[in-house]
Amino acid sequence: MHSFYNFVSGPLAWIAFILFFGGSTYRIVRMLMLVNEKEKFIFTYMSWRYSLRSIFHWIIPFATVNWRRQPVLTVVTFAFHICLMATPIFLLSHVVLWDEAFSISWWTLPDAMADVMTVIVILGAVYFLVRRLTLPEVKFVTSGSDFVILAIVAAPFVTGFFAYHQWLSYPLIMCLHVLAGDIMLAAIPFTRLSHMLFSPFTRAYMGSEFGKVRHARDW
């Protein structure tokens, strides 16, 4: 089990991070090149002011009509995403490993709080799952890959939670956790999880078009 752990947290983690950063850069550069080729005129009305104004509104809960229209979904989406990104970055265990590997370290969450945030992510994923299974208008646009993506995101949190509490076979769960984390990182640029990369651009584009061309708000 130790050699497998060393493999998934060593060479495979390197590959996952390279795919994550390299793939993300590639996807963004490709997107910009495509726009440049096909719809160059978009650049002429892109505006920092309207872009940032739109992004700003959309990252505040309830600051847009859309967020207000679906209050439960809004709360879940924000809680889910904040915990999703903050937990792994500020997790004590992860920072201990960064420190040992590269002598870099930063502020960490108390373990008890990270544990609660992990549960929030897991519950958020359950909410999205139930929504996809039960709401007709969502069910209609749902395909198999949506469930796979949800599973890819939930897996590191479920296994991390079990590992932290040392439930079931600890070494096995620990290995599965790191493997699940590697898979999630590598999957971000190449699946719909890339909305993390593209959502700022989409928002900036919408904001600019509405603000500068239509003289309207997009929130």
């Binding site: 130790h2 752990y5 060393n6 201990v96 420190d99 040992e100 108390p110 373990d111 040392q166 620990m174």
Partner: protein, 126 residues
């Protein structure tokens, strides 16, 4: 009467001796984590003597190393000091922080020898 006193006295001395040796017996089973402000984990399992016997470590300085003026003093050890007397919580320059000193020392050797625990929960058992 004198005999009784003698017997009682030697009994008493015997009991006190037995008790103190029982107390001072070095059955350290975990590494104390009192030096940390707000420990987040259970103290690491470490049955001092049994561990070192099983791992066949004769040189105390493998762990209890001694530094003077930043230089390693060969052939001397520092078991009369705790690690936290030299390693503070922050660490500085080449001197690792207290957590990192423990982890590098323990996990480092386990990785090197491909024996002994390397995952958090194998040492910090709940």
């Amino acid at each position: 009467m004198r005999n009784v006193t003698l017997i009682a006295l030697s009994l008493l001395i015997g009991i006190v001796l037995a008790l103190t040796t029982a107390w001072s017996q070095d059955d350290m089973t975990v590494v104390d984590n009192a030096a940390f402000d707000n420990p987040q984990r259970t103290p690491s399992v470490f049955v001092h003597d049994e561990h070192n016997e099983m791992a066949e470590i004769d040189d105390c300085a493998k762990c209890h190393h001694l530094y003077e003026d930043g230089k390693l003093v060969e052939d001397e050890s520092s078991e009369d000091q705790s690690c936290s007397e030299c390693h503070d919580l922050e660490g500085s320059g080449d001197q690792p922080s207290l957590v990192k000193a423990f982890h590098t020392n323990c996990k480092g050797c386990h990785q090197e020898q491909k024996k002994g625990p390397i995952m958090c929960g194998e040492c910090h058992i709940k």
